[in-house]
Symmetry: C2
Subunit: 158 residues, 2 copies
């Protein structure tokens, strides 16, 4: 569709914009699925579609396919997220927030993100460069060139 659009949103959607990609990533990220059958059973996706999607995700560098051999047991395949795939957690998280808020369901479930060491729950928010959180309603969106990203004060992540 638009894998080479100038807009970064369109480029992202060119990779994960189909009906299944993000759900596969979600299962890998939250449930920890790694194997073909796990994805198939967890998502209820047809096997031909799953095969095609997984191949695409591997080709796009979001997952890595490994053939795994435990002693004595027949070897099997694993699909594990790469860093690029794992970093879609922001998108997954944002979708989860929206769904909880605007399509609530009494027995619904959502992914939550906890900090590895402390176990604290993290949530998504807009923050300014000085680390101050801002409510989305107070923001205006504008279109800017990506190159502007490289500001010296943008390194406070991690």
């Amino acid at each position: 569709m638009s894998e080479d659009s100038t807009c970064s949103v369109a480029r992202s959607l060119g990779v994960v914009g189909d009906r299944w990609a993000l759900l596969i990533i979600r299962d890998a990220l939250i449930i920890g699925s790694t194997r073909f059958q796990e994805f198939r059973d967890g998502l209820g996706i047809a096997s031909n579609i799953l095969a095609k999607r997984l191949a695409l995700l591997v080709e796009e560098g979001l997952m890595e396919r490994r053939t795994y051999q435990e002693s004595g047991v027949r070897s099997h395949d694993e699909y594990v997220l790469t860093e690029a795939g794992r970093s879609l957690s922001l998108v997954i998280g944002a979708l989860a927030v929206w769904g909880r808020t605007h399509r609530p369901k009494s027995d619904g479930t959502s992914p939550r993100f906890t900090v590895d060491e402390s176990g604290l729950t993290a949530r998504l928010a807009f923050v300014t460069s000085d680390g101050q959180e801002v409510a989305p309603e107070r923001l205006s969106a504008v279109r800017t060139a990506d190159a502007i990203d490289h500001r010296p004060d943008d390194r406070r992540v991690g």
Copy 2:
């Protein structure tokens, strides 16, 4: 597909998980498109598809259709985002971050979010309940019930 899934991510994707919905929202949010032709020209989408998508977005409560009459000028239609539609800015923002990072393009553009009063740029990040930003790599995702959301210390948003 899965509009009534227990998973909030799947429910969200049931609404905005097709190839065009998020791009339409993006144009409405960032460029400020409101009219049929604006979306059509801006996205290069076929008019029958656009008509169907807009109708769906209205039906789902993400946009509102208004017929607009300025004095002397022929009336025209406007599609404006509702609060539910505008709050997809988190998803758009997350997709923009991912695209800039993992599908960079020298002449690429992205939506940026600026704080209305101060003009500061805001970006999307995971934060803990004490307002501290956390890198996505340090997070683990778990599946939890939506109802758990209502904890007393979860109210520092806004």
